[in-house]
Symmetry: C2
Subunit: 187 residues, 2 copies
DNA sequence: TAACATTTGTGATGTTTGTCACACGTTAGA
DNA sequence: TCTAACGTGTGACAAACATCACAAATGTTA
Protein backbone atom coordinates (compact mmCIF):
# COMPACT_ATOMS: atom_id res chain seq x y z
CA UNK A 1 0.00 0.00 0.00
CA UNK A 2 2.80 2.44 0.84
CA UNK A 3 4.35 1.83 -2.51
CA UNK A 4 1.19 2.89 -4.37
CA UNK A 5 1.05 6.19 -2.51
CA UNK A 6 4.73 6.82 -3.14
CA UNK A 7 4.44 6.12 -6.85
CA UNK A 8 1.43 8.38 -7.02
CA UNK A 9 3.26 11.27 -5.40
CA UNK A 10 6.43 10.68 -7.38
CA UNK A 11 4.58 11.21 -10.63
CA UNK A 12 4.87 14.89 -9.68
CA UNK A 13 7.72 15.31 -7.18
CA UNK A 14 10.70 13.12 -6.24
CA UNK A 15 11.18 12.05 -2.61
CA UNK A 16 14.06 10.54 -0.70
CA UNK A 17 13.26 7.56 1.54
CA UNK A 18 13.43 9.82 4.58
CA UNK A 19 11.11 12.34 3.01
CA UNK A 20 8.61 9.66 2.13
CA UNK A 21 8.70 8.39 5.72
CA UNK A 22 7.99 11.92 6.85
CA UNK A 23 5.05 12.14 4.44
CA UNK A 24 3.72 8.78 5.55
CA UNK A 25 3.84 9.78 9.22
CA UNK A 26 1.14 12.36 8.45
CA UNK A 27 -1.27 9.74 7.10
CA UNK A 28 -3.24 6.86 8.55
CA UNK A 29 -3.97 3.75 6.58
CA UNK A 30 -7.53 2.42 6.86
CA UNK A 31 -9.81 -0.17 5.28
CA UNK A 32 -13.57 -0.05 4.81
CA UNK A 33 -16.18 -2.59 3.77
CA UNK A 34 -18.83 -2.08 1.09
CA UNK A 35 -21.62 0.27 2.30
CA UNK A 36 -19.48 1.63 5.16
CA UNK A 37 -19.24 5.39 5.54
CA UNK A 38 -15.86 7.16 5.52
CA UNK A 39 -17.71 10.40 6.12
CA UNK A 40 -21.27 10.71 7.38
CA UNK A 41 -23.16 13.98 7.04
CA UNK A 42 -22.91 15.94 10.25
CA UNK A 43 -19.47 14.55 11.12
CA UNK A 44 -16.80 16.94 12.35
CA UNK A 45 -13.03 16.81 11.83
CA UNK A 46 -13.31 15.60 8.27
CA UNK A 47 -10.27 13.90 6.74
CA UNK A 48 -9.09 13.86 3.15
CA UNK A 49 -8.62 10.42 1.53
CA UNK A 50 -6.24 8.97 -1.00
CA UNK A 51 -7.82 5.84 -2.46
CA UNK A 52 -5.44 2.91 -2.86
CA UNK A 53 -8.10 0.49 -4.09
CA UNK A 54 -11.87 0.30 -4.20
CA UNK A 55 -14.70 2.63 -5.17
CA UNK A 56 -16.53 5.37 -3.29
CA UNK A 57 -19.43 7.71 -3.85
CA UNK A 58 -19.66 11.26 -2.51
CA UNK A 59 -23.34 11.93 -1.88
CA UNK A 60 -25.54 14.81 -0.88
CA UNK A 61 -28.96 14.18 0.60
CA UNK A 62 -31.52 16.89 -0.10
CA UNK A 63 -34.35 18.00 2.18
CA UNK A 64 -36.67 15.38 0.60
CA UNK A 65 -34.24 12.59 1.43
CA UNK A 66 -33.17 12.10 -2.17
CA UNK A 67 -29.55 11.10 -2.65
CA UNK A 68 -27.45 12.95 -5.24
CA UNK A 69 -24.04 11.65 -6.27
CA UNK A 70 -21.61 14.54 -6.47
CA UNK A 71 -18.77 12.32 -7.61
CA UNK A 72 -17.41 8.82 -7.76
CA UNK A 73 -13.88 8.21 -6.50
CA UNK A 74 -11.72 5.27 -7.46
CA UNK A 75 -8.13 4.05 -7.26
CA UNK A 76 -5.52 6.81 -7.34
CA UNK A 77 -8.02 9.61 -6.63
CA UNK A 78 -8.24 12.02 -3.73
CA UNK A 79 -11.65 12.60 -2.22
CA UNK A 80 -13.35 14.33 0.67
CA UNK A 81 -16.18 16.66 1.46
CA UNK A 82 -13.72 19.39 0.54
CA UNK A 83 -16.04 22.12 1.74
CA UNK A 84 -16.03 20.61 5.24
CA UNK A 85 -12.36 19.62 5.11
CA UNK A 86 -10.96 23.01 4.14
CA UNK A 87 -13.38 25.20 6.04
CA UNK A 88 -13.23 22.88 9.10
CA UNK A 89 -17.00 22.71 9.37
CA UNK A 90 -19.47 19.84 9.70
CA UNK A 91 -19.82 17.57 6.70
CA UNK A 92 -22.87 18.29 4.56
CA UNK A 93 -22.07 15.34 2.32
CA UNK A 94 -21.33 11.68 2.96
CA UNK A 95 -18.61 9.47 1.51
CA UNK A 96 -19.63 5.84 1.22
CA UNK A 97 -18.09 2.62 -0.11
CA UNK A 98 -19.53 1.06 -3.24
CA UNK A 99 -16.82 -1.61 -2.97
CA UNK A 100 -14.41 -2.65 -0.20
CA UNK A 101 -11.86 0.16 -0.12
CA UNK A 102 -8.33 0.84 1.20
CA UNK A 103 -7.29 4.42 1.79
CA UNK A 104 -4.72 6.72 3.33
CA UNK A 105 -6.34 9.52 5.26
CA UNK A 106 -4.98 12.84 6.44
CA UNK A 107 -6.48 15.37 8.86
CA UNK A 108 -6.54 19.07 8.07
CA UNK A 109 -3.97 19.65 10.82
CA UNK A 110 -1.58 17.14 9.29
CA UNK A 111 -2.32 18.51 5.83
CA UNK A 112 -1.18 21.94 6.98
CA UNK A 113 1.78 20.58 8.94
CA UNK A 114 2.92 18.53 5.98
CA UNK A 115 2.82 21.61 3.74
CA UNK A 116 4.89 23.49 6.29
CA UNK A 117 7.58 20.86 6.88
CA UNK A 118 7.95 19.70 3.28
CA UNK A 119 7.61 22.40 0.63
CA UNK A 120 7.60 19.85 -2.15
CA UNK A 121 4.36 18.45 -0.78
CA UNK A 122 2.73 21.86 -0.87
CA UNK A 123 3.68 21.95 -4.53
CA UNK A 124 2.23 18.47 -5.03
CA UNK A 125 -1.00 19.37 -3.29
CA UNK A 126 -1.32 22.58 -5.31
CA UNK A 127 -1.12 20.50 -8.48
CA UNK A 128 -3.74 18.10 -7.14
CA UNK A 129 -6.03 20.92 -6.12
CA UNK A 130 -5.74 22.50 -9.56
CA UNK A 131 -6.61 19.16 -11.15
CA UNK A 132 -9.64 18.87 -8.91
CA UNK A 133 -10.70 22.36 -9.86
CA UNK A 134 -10.40 21.46 -13.55
CA UNK A 135 -12.45 18.28 -13.11
CA UNK A 136 -15.20 20.27 -11.41
CA UNK A 137 -15.19 22.85 -14.22
CA UNK A 138 -15.66 20.08 -16.76
CA UNK A 139 -18.61 18.70 -14.82
CA UNK A 140 -20.21 22.15 -14.63
CA UNK A 141 -19.76 22.52 -18.38
CA UNK A 142 -21.49 19.20 -18.99
CA UNK A 143 -24.52 20.37 -17.02
CA UNK A 144 -24.62 23.70 -18.83
CA UNK A 145 -24.20 22.46 -22.37
CA UNK A 146 -25.46 18.89 -22.53
CA UNK A 147 -28.76 17.07 -22.36
CA UNK A 148 -29.12 14.03 -20.13
CA UNK A 149 -28.54 11.81 -23.15
CA UNK A 150 -25.31 13.63 -24.05
CA UNK A 151 -24.03 13.50 -20.47
CA UNK A 152 -24.72 9.77 -20.50
CA UNK A 153 -22.76 9.29 -23.74
CA UNK A 154 -19.89 11.44 -22.46
CA UNK A 155 -19.60 9.46 -19.24
CA UNK A 156 -19.72 6.19 -21.16
CA UNK A 157 -16.86 7.43 -23.32
CA UNK A 158 -14.72 8.90 -20.52
CA UNK A 159 -15.27 6.29 -17.78
CA UNK A 160 -16.52 3.07 -19.38
CA UNK A 161 -15.30 1.07 -16.36
CA UNK A 162 -17.88 2.78 -14.14
CA UNK A 163 -20.67 1.09 -16.09
CA UNK A 164 -19.36 -2.29 -14.93
CA UNK A 165 -18.90 -1.29 -11.31
CA UNK A 166 -21.90 0.93 -10.56
CA UNK A 167 -25.61 0.24 -10.84
CA UNK A 168 -27.97 2.26 -13.02
CA UNK A 169 -29.65 3.97 -10.10
CA UNK A 170 -26.33 5.49 -9.03
CA UNK A 171 -25.37 6.43 -12.58
CA UNK A 172 -28.70 8.24 -12.91
CA UNK A 173 -28.08 10.07 -9.65
CA UNK A 174 -24.63 11.14 -10.85
CA UNK A 175 -25.99 12.34 -14.19
CA UNK A 176 -28.77 14.28 -12.51
CA UNK A 177 -31.70 12.39 -14.02
CA UNK A 178 -34.21 9.90 -12.67
CA UNK A 179 -33.56 6.19 -12.81
CA UNK A 180 -36.45 5.75 -15.24
CA UNK A 181 -35.20 8.41 -17.64
CA UNK A 182 -31.75 6.86 -17.69
CA UNK A 183 -33.26 3.48 -18.42
CA UNK A 184 -35.10 4.94 -21.40
CA UNK A 185 -31.98 6.76 -22.64
CA UNK A 186 -29.88 3.63 -22.73
CA UNK A 187 -32.44 1.48 -24.54
CA UNK B 1 -4.09 49.20 -8.05
CA UNK B 2 -0.98 47.66 -6.47
CA UNK B 3 -2.40 48.26 -3.05
CA UNK B 4 -5.55 46.26 -3.78
CA UNK B 5 -3.55 43.24 -4.87
CA UNK B 6 -1.32 43.49 -1.81
CA UNK B 7 -4.25 43.73 0.59
CA UNK B 8 -5.85 40.77 -1.15
CA UNK B 9 -2.74 38.62 -0.73
CA UNK B 10 -2.11 39.80 2.82
CA UNK B 11 -5.48 38.47 3.92
CA UNK B 12 -3.71 35.11 3.82
CA UNK B 13 0.07 35.68 4.05
CA UNK B 14 2.18 38.64 5.17
CA UNK B 15 4.74 40.16 2.80
CA UNK B 16 7.64 42.53 3.25
CA UNK B 17 7.90 45.42 0.78
CA UNK B 18 10.68 43.60 -1.03
CA UNK B 19 8.64 40.43 -1.24
CA UNK B 20 5.66 42.29 -2.62
CA UNK B 21 7.87 43.90 -5.27
CA UNK B 22 9.06 40.44 -6.20
CA UNK B 23 5.46 39.24 -6.47
CA UNK B 24 4.48 42.26 -8.53
CA UNK B 25 7.33 41.69 -10.98
CA UNK B 26 5.62 38.45 -12.03
CA UNK B 27 2.39 40.22 -12.99
CA UNK B 28 1.33 42.66 -15.69
CA UNK B 29 -1.31 45.27 -15.11
CA UNK B 30 -3.86 45.67 -17.91
CA UNK B 31 -7.14 47.43 -18.63
CA UNK B 32 -10.00 46.32 -20.87
CA UNK B 33 -13.12 48.00 -22.19
CA UNK B 34 -16.64 46.59 -22.05
CA UNK B 35 -17.13 43.76 -24.59
CA UNK B 36 -13.36 43.27 -25.01
CA UNK B 37 -11.99 39.74 -24.73
CA UNK B 38 -9.26 38.87 -22.19
CA UNK B 39 -9.30 35.33 -23.55
CA UNK B 40 -10.77 34.30 -26.89
CA UNK B 41 -11.47 30.64 -27.58
CA UNK B 42 -8.60 29.12 -29.53
CA UNK B 43 -6.01 31.42 -27.92
CA UNK B 44 -2.75 29.92 -26.72
CA UNK B 45 -0.57 30.95 -23.75
CA UNK B 46 -3.52 31.69 -21.52
CA UNK B 47 -2.93 33.93 -18.49
CA UNK B 48 -4.61 33.89 -15.11
CA UNK B 49 -6.26 37.15 -13.98
CA UNK B 50 -6.76 38.90 -10.68
CA UNK B 51 -9.63 41.38 -11.07
CA UNK B 52 -9.02 44.76 -9.44
CA UNK B 53 -12.28 46.28 -10.66
CA UNK B 54 -14.98 45.51 -13.19
CA UNK B 55 -16.98 42.47 -14.21
CA UNK B 56 -16.24 39.55 -16.53
CA UNK B 57 -18.01 36.49 -17.87
CA UNK B 58 -16.36 33.16 -18.62
CA UNK B 59 -18.26 31.65 -21.53
CA UNK B 60 -18.34 28.43 -23.48
CA UNK B 61 -19.82 28.33 -26.95
CA UNK B 62 -21.37 24.99 -27.92
CA UNK B 63 -21.44 23.43 -31.38
CA UNK B 64 -24.76 25.21 -32.15
CA UNK B 65 -23.24 28.60 -31.36
CA UNK B 66 -25.13 28.97 -28.08
CA UNK B 67 -23.25 30.81 -25.35
CA UNK B 68 -23.13 29.30 -21.86
CA UNK B 69 -21.83 31.31 -18.91
CA UNK B 70 -19.59 29.11 -16.79
CA UNK B 71 -19.00 31.85 -14.25
CA UNK B 72 -19.06 35.55 -13.56
CA UNK B 73 -15.94 37.15 -12.10
CA UNK B 74 -15.87 40.43 -10.22
CA UNK B 75 -13.60 42.54 -8.03
CA UNK B 76 -11.20 40.54 -5.88
CA UNK B 77 -11.70 37.28 -7.81
CA UNK B 78 -9.25 35.18 -9.79
CA UNK B 79 -10.38 33.93 -13.16
CA UNK B 80 -9.11 32.13 -16.22
CA UNK B 81 -9.90 29.24 -18.51
CA UNK B 82 -8.17 27.14 -15.86
CA UNK B 83 -8.24 24.06 -18.03
CA UNK B 84 -6.20 25.87 -20.70
CA UNK B 85 -4.05 27.73 -18.17
CA UNK B 86 -2.90 24.73 -16.17
CA UNK B 87 -2.70 22.21 -18.98
CA UNK B 88 -1.08 24.77 -21.30
CA UNK B 89 -3.50 24.02 -24.11
CA UNK B 90 -5.66 26.19 -26.34
CA UNK B 91 -8.54 27.98 -24.68
CA UNK B 92 -11.91 26.30 -25.17
CA UNK B 93 -13.65 29.12 -23.32
CA UNK B 94 -13.62 32.90 -23.65
CA UNK B 95 -13.31 35.55 -20.97
CA UNK B 96 -15.12 38.76 -21.85
CA UNK B 97 -15.78 42.11 -20.18
CA UNK B 98 -19.31 42.95 -19.10
CA UNK B 99 -17.96 46.24 -17.70
CA UNK B 100 -14.67 48.11 -18.13
CA UNK B 101 -12.18 46.06 -16.13
CA UNK B 102 -8.71 46.43 -14.57
CA UNK B 103 -6.70 43.30 -13.89
CA UNK B 104 -3.31 41.89 -12.97
CA UNK B 105 -2.38 38.98 -15.18
CA UNK B 106 0.18 36.25 -14.74
CA UNK B 107 1.48 33.69 -17.24
CA UNK B 108 1.82 30.02 -16.33
CA UNK B 109 5.61 30.39 -16.49
CA UNK B 110 5.54 33.24 -13.99
CA UNK B 111 3.00 31.39 -11.87
CA UNK B 112 5.43 28.50 -11.57
CA UNK B 113 8.45 30.76 -11.06
CA UNK B 114 6.68 32.72 -8.37
CA UNK B 115 5.84 29.50 -6.51
CA UNK B 116 9.48 28.48 -6.73
CA UNK B 117 11.05 31.75 -5.57
CA UNK B 118 8.54 32.58 -2.85
CA UNK B 119 7.17 29.64 -0.89
CA UNK B 120 4.59 31.79 0.80
CA UNK B 121 2.98 32.47 -2.53
CA UNK B 122 2.68 28.75 -3.24
CA UNK B 123 0.82 28.54 0.04
CA UNK B 124 -1.38 31.48 -0.96
CA UNK B 125 -2.14 29.96 -4.35
CA UNK B 126 -2.98 26.58 -2.79
CA UNK B 127 -5.52 28.32 -0.59
CA UNK B 128 -6.98 30.11 -3.60
CA UNK B 129 -7.13 26.91 -5.62
CA UNK B 130 -8.90 25.12 -2.81
CA UNK B 131 -11.43 27.96 -2.60
CA UNK B 132 -12.02 27.71 -6.33
CA UNK B 133 -12.52 23.98 -6.02
CA UNK B 134 -15.07 24.54 -3.28
CA UNK B 135 -16.96 27.13 -5.31
CA UNK B 136 -17.18 24.71 -8.22
CA UNK B 137 -18.44 21.94 -5.93
CA UNK B 138 -21.21 24.21 -4.73
CA UNK B 139 -22.23 25.01 -8.28
CA UNK B 140 -22.33 21.30 -9.19
CA UNK B 141 -24.50 20.68 -6.13
CA UNK B 142 -26.93 23.38 -7.22
CA UNK B 143 -27.34 21.69 -10.60
CA UNK B 144 -27.83 18.27 -9.01
CA UNK B 145 -30.28 19.22 -6.32
CA UNK B 146 -32.15 22.31 -7.42
CA UNK B 147 -34.75 23.27 -9.98
CA UNK B 148 -34.24 26.35 -12.13
CA UNK B 149 -36.45 28.32 -9.75
CA UNK B 150 -34.38 27.26 -6.73
CA UNK B 151 -31.10 28.08 -8.47
CA UNK B 152 -32.52 31.50 -9.29
CA UNK B 153 -33.51 32.12 -5.68
CA UNK B 154 -30.14 30.91 -4.41
CA UNK B 155 -28.24 33.23 -6.75
CA UNK B 156 -30.45 36.15 -5.78
CA UNK B 157 -29.66 35.44 -2.13
CA UNK B 158 -25.90 34.87 -2.54
CA UNK B 159 -25.08 37.52 -5.15
CA UNK B 160 -27.83 40.14 -5.22
CA UNK B 161 -25.46 42.69 -6.77
CA UNK B 162 -25.26 40.61 -9.95
CA UNK B 163 -28.92 41.33 -10.64
CA UNK B 164 -28.08 45.03 -10.94
CA UNK B 165 -25.04 44.56 -13.13
CA UNK B 166 -26.00 41.74 -15.49
CA UNK B 167 -28.92 41.43 -17.90
CA UNK B 168 -31.49 38.67 -17.73
CA UNK B 169 -30.21 36.90 -20.81
CA UNK B 170 -26.84 36.39 -19.14
CA UNK B 171 -28.37 35.36 -15.83
CA UNK B 172 -30.42 32.73 -17.67
CA UNK B 173 -27.31 31.47 -19.42
CA UNK B 174 -25.51 31.19 -16.07
CA UNK B 175 -28.43 29.35 -14.47
CA UNK B 176 -28.71 26.95 -17.39
CA UNK B 177 -32.24 27.87 -18.47
CA UNK B 178 -33.71 29.74 -21.40
CA UNK B 179 -34.24 33.48 -21.23
CA UNK B 180 -38.00 32.96 -21.45
CA UNK B 181 -38.12 30.49 -18.59
CA UNK B 182 -36.11 32.84 -16.37
CA UNK B 183 -38.50 35.66 -17.20
CA UNK B 184 -41.44 33.52 -16.11
CA UNK B 185 -39.65 32.43 -12.91
CA UNK B 186 -39.05 35.97 -11.75
CA UNK B 187 -42.57 37.23 -12.37
C1' DT C 1 -34.21 63.49 -32.35
C1' DA C 2 -34.77 59.91 -35.57
C1' DA C 3 -33.45 55.26 -36.67
C1' DC C 4 -31.95 51.21 -35.14
C1' DA C 5 -30.55 47.56 -32.04
C1' DT C 6 -31.14 45.42 -27.58
C1' DT C 7 -33.74 43.80 -23.77
C1' DT C 8 -37.72 41.95 -21.78
C1' DG C 9 -42.28 39.87 -21.20
C1' DT C 10 -45.76 36.70 -22.72
C1' DG C 11 -48.76 33.42 -25.50
C1' DA C 12 -48.95 28.95 -27.98
C1' DT C 13 -47.13 24.64 -28.60
C1' DG C 14 -44.03 20.62 -28.41
C1' DT C 15 -40.29 18.06 -26.12
C1' DT C 16 -37.99 16.37 -22.25
C1' DT C 17 -38.02 14.69 -17.92
C1' DG C 18 -40.15 13.35 -13.40
C1' DT C 19 -43.39 10.59 -10.74
C1' DC C 20 -46.15 6.72 -9.68
C1' DA C 21 -47.34 2.06 -10.40
C1' DC C 22 -46.29 -2.51 -11.40
C1' DA C 23 -43.92 -6.75 -13.14
C1' DC C 24 -40.09 -9.58 -13.24
C1' DG C 25 -35.43 -11.21 -12.71
C1' DT C 26 -31.29 -11.28 -9.69
C1' DT C 27 -28.81 -11.22 -5.42
C1' DA C 28 -27.75 -11.86 -0.62
C1' DG C 29 -28.43 -13.71 3.70
C1' DA C 30 -30.86 -16.66 7.20
C1' DT D 1 -32.77 -23.35 -0.48
C1' DC D 2 -36.14 -20.22 0.67
C1' DT D 3 -37.25 -15.48 1.22
C1' DA D 4 -36.80 -10.71 1.27
C1' DA D 5 -34.45 -6.98 -0.59
C1' DC D 6 -32.62 -4.95 -4.54
C1' DG D 7 -32.19 -3.69 -9.44
C1' DT D 8 -34.28 -2.88 -13.82
C1' DG D 9 -37.59 -1.92 -17.53
C1' DT D 10 -41.87 0.10 -19.01
C1' DG D 11 -46.63 2.26 -19.36
C1' DA D 12 -49.52 6.31 -18.16
C1' DC D 13 -49.73 10.73 -16.91
C1' DA D 14 -48.15 15.33 -15.03
C1' DA D 15 -44.80 18.93 -14.54
C1' DA D 16 -40.92 21.53 -16.11
C1' DC D 17 -38.73 23.60 -19.62
C1' DA D 18 -37.47 24.88 -24.59
C1' DT D 19 -38.62 26.99 -28.79
C1' DC D 20 -40.85 30.12 -31.85
C1' DA D 21 -43.30 34.26 -32.58
C1' DC D 22 -44.40 38.84 -31.60
C1' DA D 23 -44.95 43.33 -29.22
C1' DA D 24 -43.60 46.84 -26.06
C1' DA D 25 -40.04 49.21 -23.63
C1' DT D 26 -35.50 50.76 -23.31
C1' DG D 27 -30.89 51.96 -24.78
C1' DT D 28 -27.53 53.54 -28.32
C1' DT D 29 -25.71 56.10 -31.99
C1' DA D 30 -25.42 59.04 -36.10
Amino acid sequence: MHQKLREHIEKIILLTDDEFSLVLSHFNSRSFKKKEFLIDKGDTNIDCYYIVSGLLKLIYEDENGNEHIVSFAMEDWWESDFIAFFTQTNATMSLQCIEDTDVFCISIENYQKLCAVLQKMEHFLLKKSNSGHIASQRRILSFLTSSAKDRYDLLLKQHPSLFQRVNKTMLASYLGVSRETLSRLSS
